[in-house]
């Protein structure tokens, strides 16, 4: 019965390891970079890679180019990043760009990963990618809830984990770790950064 | 043996129906109506019309009133509770009640004038199994009205389905 509906195959999936030795000199992510640069020159501000790992390739994008590059990467057959598997942020209170918003993409067809980043300042809004990947909806809500990064034109801009009346955003580095601190309910409007 | 029960059931009918019309909560009124039906079927049993009694419970109490309750419960009962129960209709109500009472009294008093009425149920009760008697009468003497009633009910059913049916695109 199970065999009728579920078709099984003994093996499958392309292995990226076999491709790597063929072109050892090419830095990982070069093809992708060229792909994006040809269509949207200047969209990629910076490219970082962790040593020479293909799956840790990171493009830092200009925030106004994010949506179109994302759409392009999703739809182009050579990249085909159909899954936005993770979306998060990191807080750097001392830097000029306070937040790095990180998008982790997965291409099922090519079995590879790509990271996009957008650097934003304190009160800057990030364009939403929930129109590109539906999964971004909740993840952006999470980033807003925990970091206070606002997403422009988000369809459902509510908090997700914390109570609606929570005063601030607990994953910021300046959030107190001990004591009553932000947890006091009597003063919900303590520090609404970004307003 | 029968008399005390007759008084009990009659008192039940009168009491329950009085309570029913005076309740402002529709649900309570409907439930009291069910109680009235139950007492009524008790009277039927005393009259020997067991079949009628059972039908009374099965159809009126068990069937129709449940549907009534259904629709009432789906409405906003809270509103009806706050409404004024008696409007400026007292005059008409009294008038109609008097007319009805007179009518009933006339019918009862001139009972002999309607030979068919006299003890129809009682007469059937005297036969051993009144189901057979009822069946025989229904399917011989009253066959035509019976069929007319069934066709009417069928038409009503079809109409209800047509009215209630929604097209669902799924």
């Amino acid at each position: 019965m199970a065999d009728e509906v579920v078709n099984e195959e003994a093996s499958g999936g392309s292995s990226p390891e076999t491709e790597a030795p063929e072109a050892p000199k090419t830095p990982p992510g070069k093809a992708l970079r060229e792909l994006v640069d040809a269509e949207y020159p200047g969209a990629i501000l910076e490219q970082t890679a962790y040593e020479d790992r293909e799956d840790e390739v990171t493009f830092v994008l200009a925030d106004d180019a994010l949506v179109k590059v994302a759409t392009y990467l999703r739809d182009h057959p050579a990249s085909s990043f159909k899954i936005l598997t993770d979306l998060t942020a990191a807080h750097y209170p001392d830097d000029e760009n306070t937040f790095q918003v990180v998008y982790q993409l997965v291409s099922v067809d090519h079995s590879r990963l790509l990271r996009l980043k957008v650097m934003v300042k304190e009160s800057q809004e990030v364009p939403t990618v929930s129109g590109v990947w539906s999964s971004a909806n909740w993840m952006e809500r999470e980033v807003y809830d925990l970091f206070g990064v606002k997403f422009k034109d988000h369809p459902d801009p509510r908090r997700i984990f914390m109570p609606e009346d929570w005063g601030s955003h607990p994953f910021r580095k300046d959030y107190p770790l001990e004591g009553l601190g932000e947890r006091v309910y009597e003063k919900p409007k303590r520090k609404e950064i970004g307003e | 043996m029968e008399l005390p029960f007759f008084y009990l059931f009659s008192a039940g009918i009168i009491g329950a129906s009085l309570l029913m019309v005076t309740r402002s909560n529709v649900i309570h009124a409907a439930l009291l109506l069910v109680l009235t039906f139950l007492f009524l079927s008790g009277v039927f049993v005393l009259a020997g019309a067991e079949f009628l009694a059972v039908v009374q419970i099965l159809l009126y109490a068990g069937g129709i009133m449940v549907l009534y309750l259904f629709s009432i419960m789906l409405m906003n009962v809270d509103v009806s509770v706050r409404l004024r129960q008696f409007q400026r209709q007292t005059f008409f109500v009294v008038l109609i009640t008097v007319i009805l009472a007179v009518e009933v009294w006339v019918v009862l008093a001139r009972g002999d004038a309607y030979p068919g009425y006299k003890g129809f149920a009682w007469a059937m009760g005297s036969t051993p199994g009144n189901v057979e008697a009822l069946g025989a009468i229904l399917y011989t003497k009253y066959l035509f009205p019976f069929e007319v009633a069934s066709v009417l009910l069928l038409a009503a059913m079809v109409g209800a389905i047509v009215l209630a049916k929604r097209t669902i695109d799924r």
Partner: protein, 321 residues
């Protein structure tokens, strides 16, 4: 007249007492059987193999705090469990347990059973509405719709055997099966009846009204203590009642095999045990139907089947008898 009344009351009290006890132990039986089907032991702690468990449960329910929700309609809320339990017990007044062991005989016995058991719906609808909770109300609606529909199939499935017996009186029906049980003449009617009986008693796979995973517990969500126990008792009492109807109409009531001389009541109890076991077995095996599927099964499958059965029975009776 007075001794007559006293005798009648004693009879009623006896049957009620026995039935209450049997119903309590039915819960024990169910827990034990399901337990063993599910590779566990069931109640073991209270008494030998947990035999005193039902009594302990009853005691616990008696002593529990009786909560009436603040927003509930108090009168209806209190009456509802009684309205469920009373019909379930009234039914026994006409059910035969042996040739001479019954409370009363009524000409329209079978019909009366159907009518009285249909009153149980009121208790459920009242409970659901009076609790003033959405879960309860939804559960009550489901239950009412389900029981109303399946009552119809239940009634129609019984018409076939009735035509064979030519009577609504239980004694006559059972006597008509002295030679051959009606289940052999009326297998279709029996199947429809059995499925409808499952639905009528809210048993798996038709236990939607009290589907704890969807509606928490349906119409009795807000009930506790003795009132809750009433619903529970009523459910098991009606399982017994409907099994008795089934035995009387399809399995020859107290009649047994002539070769084995056993008292009628023993035959009755044996058949009852088998039937109840099947009820419990089904509960341990099947998942639950969805509401619309339940209605579809009823109206599109069982209803035509029952009607067809009546038609064929009538035709055959006309031709051969």
């Amino acid at each position: 007249m007075i001794p007559e009344l006293i005798a009648a009351f004693l009879k009623i009290a006896m049957v009620l007492g026995v039935i209450s006890l049997v119903v309590a132990y039915l819960t024990y039986l169910e827990r034990k059987i399901i337990g063993h089907i599910q590779m566990r032991l069931g109640p073991m702690r209270v008494g030998w193999h947990g035999l005193l468990q039902p009594i302990a449960d009853g005691l616990k329910l008696f002593l529990k705090e009786d909560i009436i929700p603040a927003k509930a309609d108090k009168i209806v809320f209190v009456i509802a469990p009684i309205m469920v339990l009373a019909p379930a017990f009234v039914v026994y007044s006409v059910l035969p347990f042996d040739k001479n062991f019954y409370i009363t005989q009524v000409n329209v016995g079978l019909f009366l059973v159907l009518a009285v058991s249909s009153l149980g719906v009121f208790g459920i609808v009242m409970a659901g509405w009076a609790s003033n909770s959405k879960y309860s109300l939804l559960g009550a609606f489901r239950s009412a719709a389900q029981m109303l529909s399946y009552e119809i199939f239940l009634g129609f499935s019984l018409v076939g055997p009735l035509m064979l017996a030519g009577s609504l009186n239980f004694q006559n029906i059972v006597e008509a099966q002295a030679d051959v049980w009606f289940v052999f003449y009326q297998p279709v009617a029996f199947i429809v009846f059995f499925i409808a009986a499952l639905a009528e008693t809210n048993r798996v796979p038709f236990d939607l009204p009290e589907a704890e995973t969807e509606l928490v517990a349906g119409f009795h969500t807000e009930y506790s203590g003795m009132k809750f126990a009433f619903f529970f008792l009523a459910e098991y009492a009606s399982i017994m009642a409907i099994s008795t109807v089934c035995i009387s109409v399809f399995f020859g009531g107290w009649g047994g095999i002539d070769a084995i001389p056993l008292p009628g009541i023993v035959w009755y109890l044996l058949k009852m045990a088998v039937l109840i076991f099947v009820f419990i077995w089904i509960r341990a095996t099947l998942p639950r139907y969805r509401y619309d599927q339940l209605m579809r099964v009823g109206w599109k499958f069982m209803f035509p089947l029952a009607i067809l059965n009546i038609f064929v029975t009538g035709l055959l009776k006309l031709l051969f008898i």
